[in-house]
């Protein structure tokens, strides 16, 4: 009897090892695919599997889904992580404002709205801490980037009570998105020089909270050594599958979204998990734990389908009931990128979002040339344009990042 148990245990262990090996191999294969299968990932002519996607949803359901996603609050896990980091850094500074680091930098992915996450977190945090917040009220990058220094001077002007270092008046200065304070152009870095100088020589009664995109931050470190002026630098953690599930739960419940059977390989790996858990684990995996990417992949995975489970029980003469089904999520293939597109996409990641004229200035190219490339990439779906502002479509971010890292651009692979 004991021997049978031991054999069963050994078999179970072997299964686990095999499952882990398969999982590791799949992860490795996914990471290497840009090199190993470059031909397949780059060929724009390659026909991809036909997708039943969001367009198949009735317009009202589609509008409802998009509306719900747009009104989704920031990821609570991000808010919690920021609040905890701020508590820690603020307490250290509060005890010794003259000597402790007077700033904390919150880094997010370049496709995440860091300003929104920060402002939503700080509202509550400032109430709890009973501190005065001075929010830099820029909503976008100035059209004339040369005016950035005068704008910063105007918005960040120190009041007399703050200037007086003997007074106990403390102030928290918030720069919700550092990307709006610079442009990669000869005169576009003066705003950053001003901020560096204020961090160093400003009043000791000020504590700074700065939000920035990872790619822009890396660039500013290379050219201005910004990190040396700042205190704690904190990157938003990758979202866990449970947190992602919890975050999207209101939408799932409201629209009554069911989850399709996972692919056969996932069924083998996640034998004891239900479809929903398996779906969210896969979604977290492909989105690299980036909330905005996960949301876009979630939307893209939803389709409208006859609910077979219910249909089986019903009379065939009755009209068939349709429901929303979340299929196995996947990221779209990146089209074939020319080197001019790579420079353009890197510039978009560097600045987060920017107008075509600013993009042209940052590339040192003519606006008409840049506009043509933007149109092309927009048609492919890699970039999206809202009004005059252009940015990368979040669902392409992991692949764009990988492609740029492979092509010698300064960008972290992970």
């Amino acid at each position: 009897m004991k021997m049978v148990e031991q054999v069963a245990k050994a078999i179970a262990e072997l299964k686990n090892v095999m499952a882990r090996t398969v999982k590791r191999f799949r992860t490795w294969l996914a990471a290497q695919r840009n090199f190993l299968f470059a031909r397949y990932t780059k060929d724009a002519q390659e026909t991809q599997e036909p997708e039943k996607s969001l367009v198949q949803l009735p317009p009202e359901t589609r509008a409802k889904l998009i509306d719900k996603v747009e009104n989704l609050p920031s990821n609570p896990a991000d808010q919690k992580a920021i609040a905890s980091k701020l508590d820690e850094a603020y307490e250290i500074w509060h005890k010794d404002p003259s000597n402790a680091d007077n700033s904390v930098v919150v880094l997010s992915s370049p496709v995440a709205a860091v300003s929104r996450i920060l402002s939503e977190t700080l509202e509550e945090w400032a109430d709890v801490k009973q501190v005065r917040l001075k929010l830099l009220s820029l909503k976008a990058r100035p059209i004339e980037i040369e005016s950035i220094v005068s704008k910063l001077e105007h918005h960040l002007k120190e009041s007399d009570s703050i200037k007086d270092e003997a007074s106990n008046q403390l102030e928290i200065v918030v720069i919700p998105n550092l990307s709006w304070c610079f442009l990669r152009s000869i005169e576009g870095l003066e705003g950053i020089e001003y901020i560096c100088s204020s961090l160093c020589n400003g009043s000791k009664n000020r504590f700074w909270i700065i939000g920035a995109g990872q790619v822009g931050w890396q660039y500013l470190n290379s050219v201005c050594g910004l990190e040396t002026y700042c205190g704690e630098v904190f990157s938003l953690p990758a979202i866990e599958s449970e947190d992602l599930e919890e975050w999207l739960e209101p939408i799932i419940k409201d629209l009554d979204i069911a989850f399709d059977e996972p692919r056969i390989d996932r069924q083998i790996l996640d034998r004891d998990k239900n479809h929903k858990t398996s779906y969210f684990e896969h979604l977290t995996n492909i989105s690299k734990g980036i909330g905005t990417v996960a949301i876009q992949a979630f939307i893209k995975s939803i389709r409208y389908e006859e609910n077979e489970e219910n249909e089986a029980k019903k009379d065939e003469t009755q009209p068939k009931e349709k429901g929303l089904i979340a299929q196995t999520p996947k990221l779209p293939q990146l089209p074939d990128l020319e080197s001019v597109d790579q420079y353009l996409l890197y510039s978009l990641l560097l600045h987060g979002d920017l107008s075509v004229s600013s993009l042209a200035e940052s590339l040192g190219d003519l606006e008409s040339e840049v506009q043509a490339r933007v149109q092309l990439l927009r048609r492919e779906g890699v970039v999206e344009q809202r009004g005059k502002v252009v940015k990368i479509n979040p669902i392409y971010y992991p692949r764009v990042k990988q492609a740029l890292a492979n092509n010698n651009f300064i960008i972290n692979r992970d």
Partner: protein, 291 residues
């Protein structure tokens, strides 16, 4: 006396006859029987080798241009080794087909070939040997940007006898490998993706040096082509007619060398004009030529 001469001549004649017979015997030993089948086989092998070489060239170049840039030169520089392996294998096969390759025979054949090539194809042999030495010494590889003599460009092919470079004006220059014995080879990137680009700017002596330097640094730091992983340096040199600034920076891809330089000059000149930086004024062209 005459009789002695006769004997000597006769013995020399018989010695020569013996030597000739011996050589004929040795040649018979070395060369195996040549049949029409063997000739046809050799012919087919040579055609196949030629086709495989062409295919390899195309395949490796195609692959290197499609994969990540970081791998481009590594893949390209693998091509000469592949060619060498293939050519060696084919040579061994052909020798095996027509020659009886015992240890002694190999020595005899290689010695004979070496002597024959040494006299008849001295430069050709020298280039081939230089090509093989070059594979290990690596003064240049495919994808490198090199200067040999007056020619500068990107190495596009590494052949058995010569290297082909493509100049900025899109000319293809063929240079025999044996140049590496006598000429200096300047390699700008030596297998790396980046190659330093030096851009010169000239100002009057009274220029605001700090401002000019700051602009030049910013110009490089904000160019889309600049590789920020590598250093950017501005150096100065005084000349009788003004001050020369050299901006040294690396583009992300050495292929962008000239377009990068153009971008740097364009944006720098726009900014100099904005700040009204003064350029050197040359009154006498002869003075300039003297410098």
């Amino acid at each position: 006396m005459n009789y002695q001469f006769y004997l000597l001549a006769q013995s020399a004649g018989s010695a020569a006859q013996d030597a000739a017979n011996k050589t004929a015997e040795q040649t018979k030993d070395i060369v195996s029987k040549i049949t029409p089948g063997k000739v046809a086989q050799a012919f087919l092998v040579m055609i196949a080798t030629y086709l495989i070489l062409k295919l390899l060239d195309r395949l490796v170049i195609w692959l290197s241009e499609r994969i990540a840039k970081g791998w481009r030169l590594r893949v390209k520089q693998f091509l000469p080794f592949l060619r060498m392996v293939l050519l060696t294998a084919v040579t061994v096969f052909l020798m095996n087909l027509f020659l009886n390759l015992s240890k002694e025979n190999i020595l005899a054949v290689t010695g004979t070939i070496a002597v024959a090539l040494g006299f008849a194809f001295k430069d050709f042999a020298s280039s081939i040997i230089a090509g093989i030495v070059g594979l290990f010494e690596s003064p240049y590889g495919v994808g490198d940007r090199i200067k040999i003599g007056d020619y500068y460009g990107e190495v596009i092919s590494y052949g058995l006898r010569s290297v082909q470079i493509q100049t900025p004006d899109d000319n293809t220059i063929t240079i025999p490998h044996n140049k590496i014995w006598t000429e200096a080879v300047s390699n700008a990137n030596a297998g790396a993706l980046e190659a330093q680009v030096v851009t010169e700017f000239y100002f009057a002596h009274d220029v605001d040096i700090n401002l000019a330097k700051k602009i030049l640094y910013r110009v490089a730091q904000t160019s889309k082509y600049t590789s920020l992983k590598l250093p950017i340096v501005v150096v100065m040199e005084e000349k009788p007619w003004g001050t020369m600034f050299k901006l040294k920076a690396y583009p992300l891809d050495a292929r962008d060398e000239f377009i990068y330089k153009t971008d740097l000059i364009t944006r720098a000149k726009q900014t100099f004009a904005k700040h009204k930086l003064t350029y050197p004024r040359v009154f006498n062209t002869e003075d300039l030529e003297l410098q």
